[in-house]
């Protein structure tokens, strides 16, 4: 039977479209030419400059602090949320489910804007704490969805079996449910971590003096042409770490 080539060609075209800009970026990070119009020889100059740019590493440190603490909080809240969504069917859970899904489709600018309104009206100084709150808020839904997907495959008779064999409820949860849920929780946590590291728009709204996260730093570097090649180098490092993260996360989801 004759098959159309169109889907294959579209697929290849889309992959090319998605990766071409990233590949150019990576190549240019080793290019001696400033604008990367043509190849002017291999250099590690931009990486050396990046290494010496202290403010970039300071921003990275702030970003990591927020990402780790926000994704940990989102993992706890999200796991509880997913468990109750899966376990109970009630009006409360319908409302709960709606509240969890709405942030997933809320445009970033609205989330940033409304959190800013909250902080301004309640007189909270914007800074590390407000960024952390914002990040937990948007990560929560993503973690919940990841754990919920895992729970749908979970065989709840395993818990009954553990109880029949004499385990207490707490022990059954700790020894049976949590280990089997762990890959889902970790995958959700990794997703939350990447989202938190990447966020620009929401962070921009709720950041204060002295809380320049990495994306905010990149945005201000983009305004001065002197530091443009340095962004290429920084981007290459970030893309490489994304690769690593995505690979870890897909391994976690495939296990068990």
């Amino acid at each position: 039977m004759k098959r159309s080539w169109l889907p294959v060609i579209t697929t290849l075209g889309v992959i090319l479209f998605l990766f071409a800009p990233l590949v150019v970026l990576v190549v240019n990070s080793f290019n001696a030419s400033r604008f990367g119009g043509e190849w002017e020889g291999f250099t590690l100059n931009w990486y050396e400059k990046l290494w010496a740019a202290g403010e970039v590493w300071e921003s990275l440190w702030i970003t990591l602090k927020i990402a780790v603490s926000a994704s940990l909080a989102a993992m706890v809240l999200g796991t509880l949320a997913a468990y109750s969504l899966h376990r109970y069917r009630s009006g409360l859970q319908n409302v709960h489910h709606m509240l969890i899904t709405l942030p997933l489709v809320m445009p970033d600018i609205l989330m940033g804007m409304s959190l800013l309104a909250l902080f301004v009206l309640s007189g909270v100084e914007t800074g590390l704490l407000t960024i952390w709150i914002a990040h937990v808020t948007f990560c929560l839904s993503f973690v919940t969805m990841a754990v919920l997907g895992r729970l749908q495959d979970f065989d709840f008779t395993l818990l009954d079996a553990a109880r029949d064999l004499g385990a207490s409820q707490a022990k059954a949860v700790k020894k049976v449910l949590l280990p089997l849920l762990l890959p889902g929780v970790l995958a959700g946590g990794l997703l939350a971590f990447t989202l938190s590291i990447d966020d620009y728009v929401i962070t921009f709204f709720v950041s204060g003096p002295g809380t320049t996260t990495l994306p905010l730093r990149v945005a201000s570097m983009m305004k001065t042409s002197r530091s443009l090649p340095m962004i290429n180098a920084l981007s290459t490092l970030l893309i490489a770490s994304t690769f690593l993260f995505a690979a870890c996360s897909s391994r976690l989801q495939r296990r068990a």
Binding site: L77, S84, V95, I109, L110, S114, M222, S235, A246, S250
Partner: protein
């Protein structure tokens, strides 16, 4: 009576996330609407009392072209994304398990890479001294002095680039569940490839199609970084105006009024989908 009872386990488990989202998602959204009715003060905060003046300001006809641009750019981006994602989802669901994982990873990686960096990549690719401009001029496809950056077409291109994974992922999820035997049946009954694709496959993934369309459209409506970075001064979208009111004019009530309008524009299509999917679920059962 009920006050004496210990809170149920369900409430205990639900409370943390419910409380968090109520305080940091629902209340802020309501505050935005409320702020639109408050006067601005000079320090960039909100003054005392209530006013309808901001609502009158927002009805400025100068906003109309921006509103119109926001909608057509979002609509066109949605159409282009669906046109590319549909055949791609179709292909992804037809290949073997291993290849599927690889393709999925290839879609997700650019999606997870930093948003700013992806925009920056296009900015340097389309730069007058950049590789794509030089290549196209070298091939005589564009005139010598062509500028690829800073117009509405650039904004559209980068919008499609950043939103494409949002279209591919739900469509792929739907295509994965699609019974491809139906396509063979349609072909056996004499339908051509295009006819069986459009009459059998597309209706089969309808649910994924709707969620992909809403996802992309809604995300586009709120964009402001893309028009700011790759667009020209006449390519502003509604989001650009909101950001400007917050950060340049420091007029929170005015920004809130605009954001409130955007919120309605986002919630309405969502509501339609929820009702529509609720109805179609009833039909099935």
């Amino acid at each position: 009576m009920t006050a004496d009872q210990p809170p149920s386990r369900q409430w205990l488990l639900t409370l943390p996330s419910l409380a968090w989202l109520s305080v940091f998602f629902v209340i802020p959204a309501i505050l935005v609407i409320v702020t639109a009715f408050r006067p601005a003060d000079l320090q960039g905060g909100v003054g005392a009392g209530w006013t309808l003046a901001t609502l009158k300001e927002v009805q400025d006809p100068a906003y109309l072209p921006i509103l119109w641009r926001t909608f057509w750019l979002s609509g066109l981006t949605t159409l282009v994304c669906l046109a590319l994602a549909l055949p791609m989802a179709f292909q992804m669901a037809r290949v073997g398990q291993r290849m599927r994982q690889v393709l999925l990873l290839l879609v997700v990686i650019p999606f997870l890479s930093n948003f700013l960096i992806r925009i920056f990549a296009w900015k340097s690719l389309l730069h007058p001294e950049g590789p794509l401009t030089k290549l196209l001029i070298g091939l005589h496809l564009i005139p010598e002095n062509a500028v690829l950056l800073n117009h509405a077409g650039t904004v559209l291109l980068v919008l499609v680039y950043t939103q494409l994974p949002f279209a591919i992922l739900p469509l792929y999820a739907a295509a994965e569940k699609f019974d491809f035997g139906l396509l063979d049946a349609a072909r056996d009954l004499g339908a051509g490839p295009w006819r069986s694709f459009s009459k059998v496959f597309v209706p089969g993934v309808q649910r994924g199609l709707v969620s992909a369309a809403v996802m992309v459209f809604v995300c586009c409506l709120g964009q402001y970084v893309i028009p700011q970075m790759v667009g020209g001064t006449s390519d502003e979208m509604l989001g650009s105006k909101i950001a400007q009111r917050v950060f340049s004019d420091r007029n929170l009530p005015h920004a809130s009024a605009l954001a409130g309008g955007l919120m309605l524009a986002v919630l309405l299509p969502m509501l339609v989908v929820v009702i529509w999917q609720g109805l179609s679920r009833k039909e099935v059962t």
